[in-house]
């Protein structure tokens, strides 16, 4: 996605921010390419909003530098940055109509004539399908419409970078799904680089090209949604995104691209994907996603198979969640329910004796 030898569109270099003795952001390094949707994901207080506010210019980094399109952003005040923000509260101007809200930033575009401004406002309202609400005040429209006004207003001056602070948090579930796709299509049409701050992992996964997972002011991992989900590099990331079965393990040896582990909870030897930094004899964690677990009636002809019995199951219709007791502990397995009549179709029931297995490529070794 991003060519490493080209200067990235946005480069954040060693940025830290302290408020008094509290360090909100710690030594963050990341690059974003032009036209990307990049998500900053983390729980509350992880520093994602502070980082966003530093990009907008509302906060100055305590140390480090921010480069946008090759230009150092230090000491550039918010009103001179080609960066616009969509606020979590939308922050619409209550005394102005929808059209005046959208056109507010355009009065600083000296090159634009009055007609040009009106045309731009009309174009923006059309983009977010609010043309018929142009003359309403913000308190006369619904929450979803307000969100679109905020988006149109932030896009009207054609920013190089659009910052979205929890863009969907204030919407109800149904509206959120719809708006999510709308945001993506608007981003595609305008080509503006988006940085989205969110605490919602699903939102980050569906919206963005790449995600930076943050915790306690630090960036824990940067990668595509698939990389973050399939190959988390730390226990925090594995646990924050999706659910995971995690076990203590010790590296026995490394052979043929696999790691041979001793996992007491799974009653013996397990084969896992090789990772850098795992040395023989080292203590590590083994993480396996519940949906990577297979449940079978008979012993499968694969490595990493453990016998146990079903303690609990939650039937959701198209899939089921099993809690299986193994000799060394409990695991969760998430399985799509088989078509009835398929060969080997098997739906485990309470107290059934089963085999739990997983492919070595799904077994993630976490060194930290």
């Amino acid at each position: 996605m991003s060519a490493p030898d080209v200067e990235p569109f946005l480069r954040i270099e060693g940025v830290s921010k302290s408020f008094g003795t509290f360090q909100a952001v710690k030594n963050v390094n990341l690059s974003v390419s032009k036209g990307e949707i990049f998500a900053l994901l983390g729980g509350s207080g992880c520093g994602k909003t502070t980082l966003l506010r530093m990009l907008a210019g509302f906060e100055e980094p305590t140390s480090g530098q921010i480069f946008l399109d090759g230009r150092d952003m230090a000491n550039v005040p918010p009103w001179q940055r080609p960066v616009h923000m969509m606020f979590q509260s939308y922050a619409l101007f209550p005394h102005m109509t929808v059209a005046a809200n959208v056109g507010y930033g355009l009065k600083h575009e000296k090159s634009l004539s009055k007609e040009g401004r009106a045309a731009r406002v009309a174009e923006m309202l059309d983009l977010v399908q609010l043309t018929q609400f142009a003359h309403r005040k913000p308190h006369q429209i619904s929450g979803g419409q307000r969100q679109r006004v905020a988006l149109a207003r932030a896009l009207a001056r054609q920013p190089k970078l659009l910052l979205l602070d929890e863009p969907l948090a204030a919407l109800d579930k149904k509206l959120r799904e719809h708006t999510q796709f709308e945001l993506m299509s608007i981003q595609e049409r305008t080509g503006v680089t988006f940085i989205v701050v969110t605490h919602d992992q699903e939102e980050a996964m569906t919206l963005s090209d790449r995600i930076a997972v943050m915790d306690k002011g630090e960036v824990k991992q940067i990668g595509s949604p698939t990389e973050i989900y399939e190959f988390p590099q730390s226990k925090f990331v594995a646990g924050f995104i999706g659910s995971v079965n995690s076990f203590e393990a010790r590296v026995i040896s490394r052979d043929k691209g696999h790691l041979r582990l001793d996992v007491p909870a799974l009653g013996g030897e397990i084969l896992a994907r090789d990772v850098a930094g795992a040395a023989e004899g080292q203590k590590v964690s083994l993480a396996v996603r519940p949906e990577k677990m297979r449940i079978t009636k008979d012993r499968p002809d694969t490595p990493n198979a453990v016998a146990g019995h079903v303690k609990d199951l939650a039937y959701f219709g198209k899939d089921s969640l099993y809690r299986v007791i193994l000799p060394g502990g409990l695991v969760q397995a998430h399985a799509v329910n088989a078509r009835r009549g398929d060969e080997g179709a098997f739906m485990a029931d309470w107290d059934d004796e089963v085999w739990v297995s997983f492919d070595p490529s799904s077994a993630i070794v976490l060194v930290d």
């Binding site: 005040p77 606020f87 101007f93 005394h95 507010y104 600083h108 005040k137 619904s142 932030a154």
Partner: protein, 279 residues
């Protein structure tokens, strides 16, 4: 415990009677044809007519209005600036001292304020030769000083309620801080500014204590005129004059309240409408 509605209504009636019977009796007696203030001699509006033809009263009225207008305007400007500062700049050197100093006149006895103003004006006249004579200027200055406190309190309360993010949004869209102030902050709090002005206006219009300290020869405001006349006995024309003042002040306070509550109600109503039309 359940109280009977009759009990509550009685209590309420007594309360209102306590406040309003004196004022009502004054209004009624202002239409008294008799020269004696306490003896009813039939209905008449002659005291209102005699007021209008009384130069001293008319001059005092215009002086009072002029002072109220000028002092309310300056008090609103200064009070708005102080209110915004106190609400927005949460950290600056001497903030606690500043906020204390701003609200101190609220609890300071008016007599103290009046005396200190007088002493200050006398010293000023000694040192810099200004103000040469006490009158319109000194009264107006004194009124600005103590009525801006009320404006500050109203503006500060309004600013704390309003969302900081809308100012940031304007800045984000390219406006410098002073543009944000005129484009966003002031329009948003304009109802509060207006009600602050009205409050300052009415406070100035009916002030006796502070005015009496800082006034000079020939500068008699309406409340001062009434005060001096009452010392010689209550006459029906005083009743008529007081009735007019009650009316003016009452309308002012009522209008300020209406402006505040109407904008609030409209906002709520619109919010409900928008909620119903939600997609």
């Amino acid at each position: 415990m359940k109280r009977s509605p009759t009990f509550l209504i009685t209590v309420m009636c007594f309360g209102f009677a306590f406040f309003y019977i004196p004022i009502l009796s004054m209004i009624v007696y202002s239409f008294n044809a008799s020269r004696l203030a306490t003896v009813w001699g039939g209905f008449s509006t002659k005291w209102y007519v005699s007021l209008v033809s009384n130069d001293a009263v008319v001059n005092a009225l215009f002086l009072s209005l002029k002072i109220a207008l000028v002092s309310a305007t300056f008090a609103t400007i200064l009070g708005t600036m102080a209110g915004i500062t106190l609400a927005r700049f949460t950290k600056f050197r001497g903030r606690t001292l500043f906020s204390g100093l701003v609200v101190a006149p609220l609890i300071m006895p008016e007599v103290i304020t009046g005396i200190s103003m007088l002493v200050f004006f006398i010293l000023m006249a000694d040192w810099v030769g200004w103000p040469g004579q006490r009158g319109f200027t000194t009264i107006t200055l004194a009124h600005i000083t103590f009525s801006m406190v009320f404006v500050t309190t109203i503006i500060q309360a309004r600013m704390i309620q309003s969302d900081r993010a809308i100012e940031e949004a304007a800045m984000d869209l390219g406006s410098r801080p002073w543009q944000v102030m005129f484009d966003i902050t002031l329009p948003v709090i304009s109802p509060a500014i207006l009600s602050g002005w009205l409050l300052a206006f009415t406070i100035s219009l009916d002030d006796v204590v502070i005015s009496s300290f800082v006034t000079g020869p020939g500068s008699t405001t309406l409340p001062l005129l009434i005060w001096s006349k009452v010392k010689l006995g209550v006459t029906p024309d005083i009743n008529a004059l007081a009735t007019l003042m009650v009316l003016t002040v009452g309308i002012g306070v009522f209008a300020a309240g209406m402006i505040m509550s109407r904008t609030e109600r409209r906002r709520q109503l619109d919010a409900q409408m928008a909620f119903r039309s939600d997609d």
